[in-house]
Every structure is written in C-alpha cells, then in structure tokens.
Symmetry: C2
Subunit: 526 residues, 2 copies
Amino acid sequence: MTPGDAREMHPHRWGDPAAAAALPDAARALVELAFGAAETPAVEEFALPEPTLAEEVVAELRAVVGDEHVLADDDIRRRRTRGKSTPDLLKARAGDFADAPDVVVRPATHDQVQAVLDLAVARRVAVVPFGGGTAVTGGLVALRDGFTGVISLDLGRMKGVRDIDPVSMTATLEPGLRGPEAEALLGEHGLTLGHFPQSFEYASIGGFAATRSSGQSSAGYGRFDAMVVALTAATPSGRLDLGTAPATAAGPDLRQLLLGSEGTLGVITSVTVRVRALPATTAYDGWRWPTFGEGATAMRTLAQSGLLPTVLRLSDETETALNLARPESIGGAGDGGCLMVAGYEGTRAAVDARRAAVSAALEDLGGVPLGEEPGTAWVRGRFHAPYLRDSMLDVGVLVETLETATFWSSLERVYAAVREALTGSLGDQAIVLCHISHVYETGASLYFTVAVKQGEDPLAQWRAAKTAATDAMVDAGATITHHHAVGTDHRPWLAREVGPVGVQILRAVKASLDPAGVLNPGVLIP
Amino acid sequence: MTPGDAREMHPHRWGDPAAAAALPDAARALVELAFGAAETPAVEEFALPEPTLAEEVVAELRAVVGDEHVLADDDIRRRRTRGKSTPDLLKARAGDFADAPDVVVRPATHDQVQAVLDLAVARRVAVVPFGGGTAVTGGLVALRDGFTGVISLDLGRMKGVRDIDPVSMTATLEPGLRGPEAEALLGEHGLTLGHFPQSFEYASIGGFAATRSSGQSSAGYGRFDAMVVALTAATPSGRLDLGTAPATAAGPDLRQLLLGSEGTLGVITSVTVRVRALPATTAYDGWRWPTFGEGATAMRTLAQSGLLPTVLRLSDETETALNLARPESIGGAGDGGCLMVAGYEGTRAAVDARRAAVSAALEDLGGVPLGEEPGTAWVRGRFHAPYLRDSMLDVGVLVETLETATFWSSLERVYAAVREALTGSLGDQAIVLCHISHVYETGASLYFTVAVKQGEDPLAQWRAAKTAATDAMVDAGATITHHHAVGTDHRPWLAREVGPVGVQILRAVKASLDPAGVLNPGVLIP
C-alpha cells in the first residue's frame, strides 16, 4: 500500500471491494443474461513485466522526491496499471499487467514535479500523471516505444488547499485531492465545489481538470471546466500560470488548452476553482414521463427557460424498467414510463422557490410527481454503479458504459443511432440502457450502459461494439465524449471530431511544450 | 462608399456623424477642462501612402473575389485605416494615414477567404481581417515589414444567417453581420443574441468572436465567447471546423484558441451561437448607493446568490456626478452617491419574478430605488458615448477608455491603483470615471473613462497614461483587458498576463497555422 493514502483501489475491481454492496435485486435481470457462465476470478499475484528503467535513473528520481516516494513493489505497480474501464478490468482479471509502470513516483510539490519532468526528458522516460486512477478511456496507458521506461507520476501527496478566498468565492486546490477530501477541506469553511461525478469517491481534482469532468449536479454547479478560473502546470518547457480574472479578452483562453489535455501537455499542479456555500437544504424529487422523448423535451424546456434544478437526470424506458437508476425498490417502479430525478440544493428559500417553479413547469409539461423516495434512493446509490459492474463481471456479464452529447435537435437521432450500433454489434440479447444527466440550453448528454453475456473474447466483443457506437456518434455529428475524455480508446476518432487542422494544432502545442514527447505518450493526440 | 454596405464609419469619427447628438449638457463639466482650446478639424482629403502591392497580385485578387470587390480608392482606404481608439482618431485627425491598406478585398464566401489567404501566403502579403472597424486596441494595424503589401480583408459581404435551429436554440451566422443586422435577421424568427456592446451599431459577429467581446447585457446573456458553440475558420493551413456539442471532453477546447485570436490564427467565417427568445418585456430600474464600494458589494451578493438581472451596472461617484451614465437629466441626479442600473428582459412572468427578488435583495443591502427613469435614460443613451468622444476631441479634450477585470477581493485595490496611475500620469486635473458593467460569481470588470485637456502631444500624453494604467493592472494581478482585446496596444503586456510559456504556446500555434505569418502581423502575439 502507498504511504499516506488510505483510498487505494483494488487492482482489478472498483474502489474498496469491502465497501461493495451485494448484487442488488434490481440487477437480477442483467445477471440472467449470463446463464451462470463465469466464475469469480481469484485475487492472486499476477506476474509483472521486468522494469526497464535504469537503476541510475531510479536513484535520480529518489534524489528528487525522497527514497520513500519512489515505489517499485509489485502491489503498487499493479495498482498503477491502467484505469477502470471494463477492458482495463478484463485485462487485469486475466492477469495482463503488461502496461505496468516501472516505478511509481510521488512528488510533493510543483518544483518536484518539474524536476521529475526535467529528468524524464533528459533520460527519455515516459511519464503518466496519475490522480485517482478512475480513467475509463485508456488515459493511463503509456506507449513504451522509444522510451527507456515508464513512470507513474502519482500526485497523491499533493493534497493541500493552498488558498481560500471567501470574498471571491474561490479556492486553490492541489491536484491529488480526491473528491471527498476536497469537499471535507472546503466544508470546514462552509464551502463546496459541488462536483460529484460517479467517480467522486476516488477521482482527483487534477483529473477532473485534465479530463473536463462533469458531475451529477452539473445543472446547478456546472461542468468542472466551467469552475476553473486559474491553474498552474509544470511542462517540460517550464511553469505555466494561467488565469488573472473571472473572464478576459487577453487573447485565446489558454486555460482551455490545459483543461482536457489529459497529461499530454503538462502536469496540472494547482487549480483555482469557483466554490459555493454548502447547501443548507437539499431535496430530490422523482417524476415519471410517458416516454423518454417527452421527458427530454421537458428537460430542454427547463434548460431553455433558465429554470434548472441542481440535479436533473432522466432514464429511458429500459433503464427505468431495470431500476438501475434507483438501486433500491421504490413505489411506482412498476408503472413503466421514464424516471426523472430533479434535485435542488441551496438555501431553504432558494430551494423552495426553485422547486416550486420547476415542479409547476414539469406538471404543466405532463410529468407525474412520484414524491421524494425515487430521488433519495438515487442519492443513496449514486456512486454504486461501478461496484455493481464488478459483481456482473464476476458472473460473466460484460458491462460497460459510453457517453456522448449533442444538440437538442439531434438528440433522438443520436440516441437511436448509438443504440442500433450497440445492438447491431452485440446482438439483440444485449441490453442497452440510457440516461440524460447533463443538460445545456442548446443540447444534452446521452449516457449508455450496455450489458451482454460475455463471449469467448470479451475484449474483442467490446472493442467491436465500442467502434460501432463511436462511429455512429461521429456519423450523427455528436461528440465522441461528453465527460470521459479521449485517452487511448477515443483517440482514433479525434481527427473526425476536430478535423485535420485541429489535430495539427494539438500536435504543434505538444511539440512546443513537450518536444521529447515524454508526457503520456500515445494518449489523446493522434 | 463600399457597395452593399450602408453603415460606413467616418474616417476619423465614430459612426455616422449625422447621427451624433450635439454635445449634451451633461458633458459641460468635461468640456470646461479644455478652456476652449482646439478647433474642430476639417474633414478633408488627407494624403495616403503609395500602395506597394504589385498590380499582378491585385489582378489575382480580382480573379478571386470579382473586380468590383477589390477596392483601392482613397476614400475606402482611409475608412479601413486602423480602428476607433482615441489614438487612432488623433492620428487620422492629424492626417496620418500611414497604416492604410493597399487594397480592400471583399470576399463573399469561406472559399474566397481561403483563396485570398492562399494567395497572400504565395505572394507574401499581410492580411488584416476587417469586420466593423470598431477596434480600440490597435487590432487593425498590420506591420508591413517583410511583406509586399497589406490587404484589408473586409468581411462585410458575408452577412447571411446560414442556419437557425429553433429546437436547439442556435443560429449559424456569417462574420460580416453587424450587430443590428444580426438582431434584425434573428428577430424575424422571434430570436435574439442579446449581445449589446457599446460598439453594437457597427461591430460585427466575426469581430465579437475574434476579440471575446462582452455586451452590456452580459449578466443575463453572458459574454460572446460563452455564446459560441461552434465556429468555422479559414487558415493558411486549411479549414477549421470546431464544435460538435454544447460541451465535450474530447481534448482541449480548440474553439477557445480561435476566440480571442484577433485574426492572427485564422479568419472566422461562421459562428454558431446560442440564441434566446426575444424578450416580451423589458424593465430597467435605477438604484442609488452611498458609495461605490457598497454598490459593488451588492453586485457581488447578487452574482454569488444566482440572482442576477439581465443588465447590471454601477457608476462610481465621479461618473454618477458627471451624469455620463445617463446623458439626459433625471430626478435624483443631484443627490450624490453612485448610480446603479438593473435591467430585466424576458417573459412578463420571469421579469416580474426576477425584478421582485433582485429589488428586495438590493433594498435589504441598502440600495435606494430611483424608479425607472434612470434606467430608461441609460437605455436611450447606451450607444452614444463614442459620439460624445468626438465632440470632446473637437474642443481639445483628450478622452479615452480602458478596462480590466479582477476577482472581487482585489476589486477595490485594482480600482485605486488604476485611478492613481492615471492621475499620476495625467495630473490632478484629469477626470477619471469608472463603472462596473460585467459581473461574475468570482469577480467583475472595471471600465474607466479618462478626460483631460490635450497637451502639446496628446498621443504621447495618452501613451504614458495608458502605460501607467496597464502596468498598474498587471502589478495588481488583474487582466490587461476584459473585453477590448489585445491588438497592438496591449501586446507589450501579454507576456506578463500569460507568462513566457503561454507566449510560447501562442507562437507555436501561430507558426503551425500561419507559418508565413501573413495574418494580422504585429497584432496580439508578442
């Protein structure tokens, strides 16, 4: 285990397996797919590749961060291998740790990060910045070709709050802070970031910034990239300090180049974010809609009239029927239709006023109020889905998620196209669930969960489905990812997202900041 | 006059001088500064430099856009010389048209823009993209050094609405549309952009995007850069199409590189913007605050509680006393303090609800309601200030504006530092006015107007004051510009805004997209 870090994830499961609930009843329908096929793989010592990094370089790294912060034991190398996509888990379950880093290096300061980068350039070592390890698109897999070794640059020791400005309502946070750690430290000041992605319990501030994360409360708090007012990064070309005001016309917004750069342009060493007062009151209501389309229209109406709750999500008919949006059984679940959760956070007065206005609008639009139970059930289970995935993999069900976003006028078309691509690839037995969980005036996200019986080669099975789905997104004009980032998995499609000149820009910035190409090689940039 | 464009600006005055009101009574205090010093310069034929562009190149340009769209007469060359900063006007009034372009080229399509750029690269011609000509920071002055000539690339023929998506509430607009033209075309569909900078009557959609413009209704509609969901640009490296969804995690947001690029990286040929329903109701109220600080605190409270009006502005004591915020006399003007205008736009119900909530909050905070007259007076005069400047220059008063933004906790410090820098440079006789007109949860803009009797060399007089003020902004950690862009005037400070590595990134992108450096040379990039 890593010193000073209590929140280590299992090498081939999500989070802390001891915290995982038993497979809920609600998942039985999915489990039936498996016909009792697979056994649960044993947790055992899988072999790791021999490190290639020269002892001399390891010694230099030790001199930078201290002996005890360069770790090379098998356990930590396994825990720093890849992220937590289903392919990542399948590989680890099969004992494939070929992408393990040679060593894990844990800097404590910006200057130590800078020194490690300088050393990596001098010694031609690939550097994979590591925050919470929750990546689901292959962002933690570095190409070894042309490098003398691979370092996992673990930012877990950089977990301070550098500054809180209660007048401007900003906080300067270090990148290694996990979601709950950041909230706890801000909470001492009566503040919250309001950023709660499904990965919240493990994911880090630096990772949120580097991947343009979006949380479940994005309707009220905004995406993470919209919260960032300033940031600092270490690059092979030196230190970058960006952000002098809430908004500026001083040229292109270079913060927006580092946000979403996934460790390929620099290592984000601090982020100044907008914070808000801890909500005094929270309330989450359930609503039923006859169809996904009608629920989506209601969401659009709210977004376009400036009447958004803090949380707004809508499950399609299948997700509602399978009850995955509410892992615990609730009243009204058997009545079909689509479940919406609308949540409100803030002062008592603000919550009451907003809730009354939104509820009136939703009733006008044909929504049926289901009371608080579906909403509170969702809150209880909001971070549990990845544990459920482990349970499903245990019994031979292939489960994975993918997501996109598009403009409202294309939403139905994109929804149909991605569903069709997935079932076309995986067969009619595949179960495809979908929800909308991030809305904007001009469009919304679509988040798909897929479950199917594992075939002979589940990795190839998924690769084909993912390819078909991503092709369908691009063909329909949607983005290849709304909040999971590009990593290595989406990289083949990035040129279709930003065009050849867009790729040229990314390569030019990369070549300028990181001419030796040591930062997360193979990730993001085509 | 240019064919097809009714809204030409005077070569050395703002807008259409026939539309300028006589010097309002309210400005007498400023005029007294001049002691009747200067005479109004005559409008006459000032000499222009000989064009250096080879006839052969002019013929090639004619082949691309058509004979009638390559203009080289003296009148149009004068009207395409520089922008409308006070130094620009002083130079023009003094007969200095040394920065005149050789020819004005008016493409009608993206492909024609691309062809002109390709030709410019082949023939080594500098290209200055021209929208509304309202630049106030030297963004329309190209360096001639190393080029065979300078083209003004006038986008005034590209003024179509390419697409309206009433479901997604987006519109795809061509760059040459002036503010009123865009509003008129959107208005036919019951839509508005809601972007009303002081330059609205002349400035263009492309210019709004290229300079990160911010309008007077930014509290309700947001900055222009926040409205853009997609854009297309022609670059010497080819076409760039960016923006597939309202939000994405597909890498760095490259739209944010083109926004604010001021014609140095590409020519924006279309912009897809979020639009809103035309407001059924508008209401503008006046409020008085005992001090600027108390009014600013009230603005911060509104911004941080999510309770913003559509328009929110606050004049400091001097601006309030001089009544420049309200060019027409109103009741309560003589009572001192600071005038705030709070405006509401939307449906009747939304306006009523928001107005009631904001008004209650402002009364709680100590604001004194002044009724609608100050607000409606402000609306009537909101685009008049540049005309007033011409009248002041006519009588020997040097008038100019500059602006910045900072976080709330630094606002008072930045305000004092810039005022001190200006009076320190210009002398105690200088009148310095200020207002806050753009607010965010984390901070706000500060917009200064300066008036002083012109000295022997008013250009040098202003240059010294501008240098002192901008140094003061940077020293105080504020941005060098909130919505006027960098141009040539702020360029010497950009390295202090984004740091040496930030400059390196800009240069790398520039070198990649425009290796010949033909796009707006000398602007923005240090």
